[in-house]
């Protein structure tokens, strides 16, 4: 059974803290994604990575950075957490386009609250 695992289901952090959200996939997928989801705004792409050490900005990268040192792990970093980063964060992975199946698999999400 395919799996994308996010390290925490719920997190509470203080303003100004450095926050790490971890995501691990066991499907040997090249592509990995980080989204945030807020009421009424749908899913918004923060960053994605199409290979180890490769990353590209999504629509809302400000205030975030990412790290992909190993194929199976994609980390989202909030350098200095702020209250407007309180949100549900979702990680996903997929095979590259051109392969037989480009379905994206999502983790269960991390609900981050910054106080």
């Amino acid at each position: 059974d395919v799996k994308v695992t996010q390290s925490s289901r719920y997190l509470v952090k203080r303003t100004g803290e450095k926050v790490f959200l971890e995501c691990v996939q066991d499907m040997d997928h090249e592509n990995m994604f980080w989204y945030r989801q807020d009421p009424g705004l749908g899913l918004r792409l923060i960053y994605f990575s199409y290979d180890v050490k490769m990353k590209e900005k999504g629509d809302i990268p400000e205030g975030y950075s990412v790290s992909r040192e190993k194929k199976e792990r994609f980390s989202l970093i909030l350098e200095s957490a702020s209250t407007n980063q309180t949100s549900m964060y979702l990680c996903a992975s997929s095979l590259p386009l051109g392969t037989a199946n480009t379905e994206a698999f999502f983790g269960q999400g991390t609900r981050l609250t910054v106080v």
Binding site: N31, F48, L90, S94, L97, T102, E103, F105, F106
Partner: protein
């Protein structure tokens, strides 16, 4: 990237067929169309993907007309458990990668 437009919400009753239409007027030649379903407090789940004409699986059908400027997700005989948000995506390969861009989705409510 093709921008997609869907209705914000739809209501239906158990046992009915539900059709959700998505507009993607500037879809590119290499773009695929994919639909995802999301339940509260869960990540989205892939439903179906197509390029043109009709695709059917055990969950849904996807109709794409010849001009590919729109697509319709068809859910046969919905049940209460089909209440969810449905997202339409058009994506393509850019350079060596591709982006999955979600819109706001269509919130489907199935009533008894």
């Amino acid at each position: 990237l093709a921008k997609t437009t869907q209705p914000i919400s739809m209501d239906s009753y158990e046992g009915q067929e539900v059709n959700i239409t998505c507009s993607h007027n500037n879809i590119a030649t290499n773009d695929y169309i994919t639909w995802y379903q999301q339940f509260p407090s869960q990540g989205p789940r892939f439903i179906i993907q197509g390029y043109k004409t009709k695709v059917t699986n055990e969950v849904a059908s996807l109709f794409i007309p010849a001009d590919r400027k729109s697509s319709t997700l068809s859910l046969p005989r919905v049940s209460l458990s089909d209440t969810a948000v449905y997202y339409c995506l058009a994506f393509s390969e850019e350079d060596s990668s591709y982006k999955l861009i979600f819109g706001s989705g269509t919130r489907l409510l199935v009533r008894p």
